[in-house]
Symmetry: D3
Subunit: 246 residues, 6 copies
């Protein structure tokens, strides 16, 4: 079930049977010459919605803008400062706890979010830890990157043995192409495979990675591959989330 398309009555009923929810979390940032700006938000959303269509699993709204400061020299990128992102995640979690949710599974689409998501978890847990008495309501916060769901990295490496890369990867572009075929873009990549390197601020990033890609050749992406990855990830998510819910 997608929370955005459910009524409050339906969510209240769901809470009779489960205290767990999936929140897709991503970023709006450049993904190279043929990747979508929304890639990192769309990938976990696509996978979670697929899973919700195949199993009894509640998916919340997508936390779509994350930590993307290093991409700001490319048009269209939108970022939160980490401190803002922590505050926003605190509010989301406080809202969900208010309804009785006790297990919140964040399905993440962006490596640059990992640190701040974990910092936000610690910020929320700290409130419970400072209290002189144990919390009356349990709380478990889990972060999973979609590409690290069991079997997914293996599949991506199998499909793209060369040029999978680290940013604007062939696999994430494929996932979005599968879901939104009309958004496919044919772009010649130069060089074929983008360079690798370190990340700091946006100006340094663009010097190291002139077209935005890191280590990838996303011109390999296509709808069929994307579909295979989506289904693999959705199946793994259903299994992992089911375990997490119990």
């Amino acid at each position: 079930m997608q929370l955005m398309k459910a009524s409050w009555v339906e969510v209240e009923e769901y809470l009779q049977t489960s205290k767990a929810i999936v929140i897709p979390i991503g970023s709006v940032e450049q993904h190279g010459p043929n990747g979508l700006l929304g890639t990192d938000a769309l990938c976990p959303e696509i996978i979670a919605h697929r899973a919700a269509a195949q199993a009894n699993l509640l998916v919340g709204p997508t936390f779509n803008v994350g930590c993307a400061q290093h991409h700001l020299d490319f048009a269209g990128t939108i970022t939160l400062r980490p401190s803002t992102m922590i505050a926003a995640m605190q509010d989301w979690i406080a809202s969900l706890r208010r309804h009785g949710f006790e297990r919140i599974y964040w399905l993440n689409g962006h490596g640059g979010n990992i640190a701040t998501i974990n910092a936000a978890f610690a910020e929320v847990y700290a409130e419970l830890s400072f209290a002189k008495t144990p919390p009356e309501q349990a709380l478990q916060l889990k972060l999973q990157n979609w590409w690290q769901l069991p079997g997914v990295t293996e599949l991506c490496n199998e499909i793209y043995p060369v040029g999978h890369g680290a940013h604007a990867t062939a696999s994430e572009v494929a996932v979005t192409y599968a879901a939104y075929p009309e958004a496919q873009k044919q772009v010649e990549m130069t060089p074929k495979i983008a360079p690798m390197g370190e990340i700091s601020h946006a100006y340094a990033y663009r010097q190291s990675f002139p077209d935005g890609r890191i280590g990838s050749d996303p011109s390999q992406a296509n709808v069929e591959d994307g579909e295979r990855i989506i289904q693999k990830a959705a199946t793994a998510l259903i299994s992992e989330f089911t375990q997490f819910s119990d």
Copy 2:
């Protein structure tokens, strides 16, 4: 053009011709027994995407969670504190300005957001106003509620002369039904038309409005009406945004 499905190259090209962008902004909150929790985020998104399909207009990601503290006693509602929302809007605006956007049109779907959106505008403007020299880059921030786009309120009142209401309105439910017919819910409303009243915190809200609706009979909502409203609003948005862009 939808920014989420565009590449950074495409956004850079758009910026050659226009410095303006539409940001749909909404809320995730109960919308009565048959309305979707995502209604207030979905309505401006649906309208803006329709407009983007019919004219050269850039639509950014949807700012989906807003100020909904008064709905927190109904399952599924998610809110930001106003101070968090101000911080997040500051970051979105700073990101967009970084790329050269100078006119940001916030198409809003939630009455409860209006105060905080305007406060966020003042927070951003204040930074320019405190500076000892005028800003090098122009900035215009505009808030428009989709139901106040020229002609829309009139149409809604025409379609729903009785029981249009103030929250979980017949028209907003219809807009989401038109876009997501599979999410329609058949629910008997009791009373037929919900009571009116004042809003404060979530516990008081639920006492005044037991099923979440205010003044409305959204069981009237249907796909055909929704479609008429979407097209009316999209046409008005294209016209108003075009003027705003120049």
Copy 3:
């Protein structure tokens, strides 16, 4: 009773009979060539003090500096950022609740404060709404602009059928002249009636409104008119506040 001139013992006694208080809230900002910088703080203060002299009504200290970023290009203007104003109002409200006040009536003198006052209300209510149990202590926050007290706008329009305006209005200048006749200033206005327009940051404001006024001819203001407006507003306040207190 004015809280500033009462002892704590007297306030404690007042609380035996009423849990309600009026807080005048305004701004320190330019009010055109003949208006006082303190106009927006002084008007609600003058009206509330008049009411307190005529009825059993407790008036707190004046929240004198508000949201005036758009006036910063005119000497003497002082502003809070909206986020600061929210924090300050939170502290005022927390203090008043500590003593048992449950109904706080903010009598506002500045249109530019409205959004942030409402955002502050939502920030305070959110704390109650996030809690897993209903608040033990009731809380009602009300915003009223003095010029919208029943009958006041009508009187102002009657006195100033032409050139009442939107900022540095004839009526607000008159109110301050009536209370502080020694502060009257004779200034020739050019043009007689100031232009209308939109508001953003301070540099744009000054370009649109070179002497600070918007749409007004405040040279019409005089002590007698001011006195009529004060008394009208004070009477309306007593009536509205009495109802609010119960």
Copy 4:
């Protein structure tokens, strides 16, 4: 000149001759059985306004609510958290600097404000100190407690050799009585002279100081003494501020 009763044009003219301003800063807090809740805000305001009537000195609005957490167990007390007060003072100072003010003299009425005022100064200075180049615009922030203006403590001790005290002092009550004789309160004090002690939070405070006073017998206060103190302080302020302005 009082800024609140001046026009922006008048302040602009003042800035041609001086970059200095006085800001009265106080607190709203219990002052014992016969003292006014507004005492600490009113005293510096009364003295500064007296000075402004006798010399060319600009007095800004009164920063009326300060750090009074320790008095919260007495009805009517209003406090800011220190962090809020720092933010608000930053905004006031940024506003004044925007107009060209370079020397801001804070005339303080409350011992409990001293630490936070100095912390706020450091917060503002830090911004200049972190910058890689020296500030283009000078900035001098000065704190003076009205009772420490040259000669004032001596006069107070002379008038009240016994029971002047440390909070709700005879002298501060006298100052407010002189300015607002209608607010005088006749209250029998028990004990005649209140105890001395240490301050922490509000519950501990009330245990140590049951009627709010510390070490004082403010029943000695009267209008004549108050008048002498006001004039002494105003004269000293004129002299000290004149020196500060140059």
Copy 5:
């Protein structure tokens, strides 16, 4: 006992007998040509560790970076903004209270910290004071500057009748030399005794005090003097802390 070198079991045992702890608090800032950047953190740490070696007294970690914005024009200085320092002290205090500590004695090494430490105390107390019921757990926060421990100022003045000074004092340099003789530096001072003056931001500071010292001749500092001061202060600390603990 030094908390940093104790196990949690040992601290738990200590808490059976005492709810009090000493926290050395200082600054990292220039201390003239021959003083250590760590002087203000090292002095209270040295004294507290000496005391802990001679009596049953628990010393926590050193809060080493404080408010030093005015020294930022000298290499190596590190500062917190006051608002950051308040937040950090809040967290330290919340942590200590969690374990049952009720009396926290801050042994301070830096005059520039005093205001912010007291502001932080008020910030923490305010939380208790806003609550509608008295705190279940007592809390006493005490600030003591090591040079104001009984007898210490007298000893310093006796040892250095001339050129003791106000910053980079002969005595504080001596204390660090006694503890870290290898860090002694032989530097010729010009002028012999540094000037006195007022403090604002870092650029103004350096103009007034070109080599960083204020009013001092720290070339007088030596190990023997330092040792006498350390022992005097440690003895006084033991006595004062013992009294504070009861």
Copy 6:
């Protein structure tokens, strides 16, 4: 060179030859029955000071309290909230940049700090990335955990093939014992090797790990092993930092 024991003149000279600095960063938290509360701050400090004694490398003060909310149910643990830690690191970095440092190497002693350190880096970089022009001053922030310095993990595994563990590890206890032999504690461990598991808030932590250890048998720790690890890590640090500095 240790910054804390250097004068500003010495740091200024160092800056002529290098723009790089090491900051040890740790935590104050329980480390099981025989480990020191200061372990995570002491380890990187010990290693960095050793390196500074053997090479030309500047070591700043130790950022001693970090993110330890999960240990709060054990006496003596002190934590910052992640948002506070981000603010404090921002201030440290701003201070160091003020002096011309461009490369800041954070030598970390606590796994629980990693997320927040990286979030703080992103917060600092974001400021540069939002700017419309590239930064004039370069900035490189690097995080290295001391146990991941080249060769160190291998050595630890070699020395402790069984029961090295994940928290309160044999190796970190050994490092502190080598530096502070007087702080060694003989404690029988039950069970010999502590359990493994997941981390959330403090109450859950204590249930999973009753004496604080995770997966370790730190009773194996001794001075000789610690010394070997320290020297290995110091040598690796010198090499890595030298490369980082260029």
